[in-house]
Symmetry: C2
Amino acid sequence: MSAFRFELLGQHGKLRRGRYHTPHGSFETPCFAPVGTYATLKGLTPEQVAGTGTELILANSYHLHVRPGAERIERLGGLHKFMGWDGPILTDSGGFQVFSLGGKVAIDEDGVTFQSVIDGSTHRCTPESVLTFQRQLGPDIAMVLDHCPPGDADADYQRAAHERTLRWARTARDLHERWGGSSRGQAVFGICQGGVHPELRAESAAAMAAMDFDGYAIGGLSVGETKQQMAVALDACADALPAGRIRYMMGVGMPEDLLAATARGVDLFDCVIPTRHGRNHTAFGKDGTSLKLRNAQYADDPGPLVEGCGCYTCRKYCRAYLRHLAVADEMLAGILLSIHNIHFLQDLMREIRARAEHQE
Amino acid sequence: MSAFRFELLGQHGKLRRGRYHTPHGSFETPCFAPVGTYATLKGLTPEQVAGTGTELILANSYHLHVRPGAERIERLGGLHKFMGWDGPILTDSGGFQVFSLGGKVAIDEDGVTFQSVIDGSTHRCTPESVLTFQRQLGPDIAMVLDHCPPGDADADYQRAAHERTLRWARTARDLHERWGGSSRGQAVFGICQGGVHPELRAESAAAMAAMDFDGYAIGGLSVGETKQQMAVALDACADALPAGRIRYMMGVGMPEDLLAATARGVDLFDCVIPTRHGRNHTAFGKDGTSLKLRNAQYADDPGPLVEGCGCYTCRKYCRAYLRHLAVADEMLAGILLSIHNIHFLQDLMREIRARAEHQE
């Protein structure tokens, strides 16, 4: 039996409670994965990350391929050893980065050629090359190359991108199978596209499902569409994807979106929001609020960020100290606020999972 | 009996082995204290700091008085609670900062008036005001205001600065005694000046010793003098200071200086070097060497920073990963290198203490 397995443990309406098994341990779903772009969650040690309740982390194969190089990380023993994280790791393929980071991008049938935003050097990604990079990096879960169009792309462009994504997915699936499939220690997930058009989403999801991937991502959302458009697209995907496989919505991390998407059957999320917000001195608060720690209102506030929060930051520090660190631009401000924000989302995921269990 | 007590546990030549007791626990001497200027060791949690073997930390009363304010920290429960450090804390008086940070400084008999380098606002420090700030902050050990002259000051200037420092010290000592002395929970240390002139150093140390402070700092060294000049000045101080009181050399943290100064009877040191070096991607190596982690030579190096080092960083990460973090300018680079550098100095202090014990 493959080390990779999705157990569906319960369901309430469309909300699913599950567990995904990998060679580096399992993670409970619905699951939120924070992002360590360059093989580091900015400013946090793996122990601090684990202390937030995080079970799965994401790294960016595009960034790591450019610097320090996927081959180098392979020589050094792979991503887990390199960055000191023993739990499950997922890497994205770089599709989203190629299309969203700006710079010159030329798409053809076989892949995409683009300039690095770091040093201007020219790189090429193909469905085969991104799997090769990820095979070298060695995460538990690799993603296929997709064509992720901008949010304002018209229906024709969305159809072309979704169909190209399918063709690239077939190429990737075939290569993955030639390599022995997930039994070699790495699962590969397909990515559905189709923008906000339910018929394209249904078509994309059904065609992906037919390719029998280890899991399915829903890409190209949270790029400017309305909440209603997101819901319609998610429903179209969910109806066409197999119930027994994990469903992963990429790049989503705001509490309201996590609540909405899990209610529509999504099992897995990743986002830079908790760490980026933290470095920008913003903390998640109760009931969808947020705290801007540089504000003078916190200068003498002896309370924790969130009353009753069990995170390291809230157990140990008052708002006045965090405000002081933020105003003094101290590194520890971003660190402590990132810890709180990730822990806050992990608490939310625990609540969502409990809801799926109790209402079963 | 006062909570403050220096135990002299052993001596070999002039090298002393001791223990200093405070209301927040004791620290072994010779002791190295890393610096948390703004009530934070840059990028490190108190648990990470403690994990390096650190027992005492230093904070800067000058910086904390300017921002966020000593009165504010007092209202919030004092420095220990504010920054989450339960062990001993020492604050400097700001004398060194006033005279070294640049900006307009006007010295008169009663104190010094200067402009904040942060916002240009005008501040005044007197022997009484700096003790008041430190009483509000609440560290275990407070320092008197001293006049720390530049390294290239001539003998007349050095004499004037040393004599002014003595007058200010008397004012501070008298205020400290009116407040009840160290029985109120805070020790106050005097600071010897006198530059590189042994006769001034001897005069300063003898006069300070006559004032019966809880401990004695040796200021105004490591400001450009030669190793030989430093040694002569240290010897002159050590001969005039009482054997039963702790001796603190301010602003010194290079391994060779720690070795030289402990051999001349100094018990306590503080310095920003291990954390500043860490943020500049420099690590202490064996035998006085240092590693510049941005260098390409480390790109594929699977070894730890220092073979056999027991610090968190060396136990967990290879040089190639640290080089990657440094090149990508990731926060974790400075954090992991700071942890190594502090741990490295604490290992050195442990070795020095063991030497004092075994050769006793």
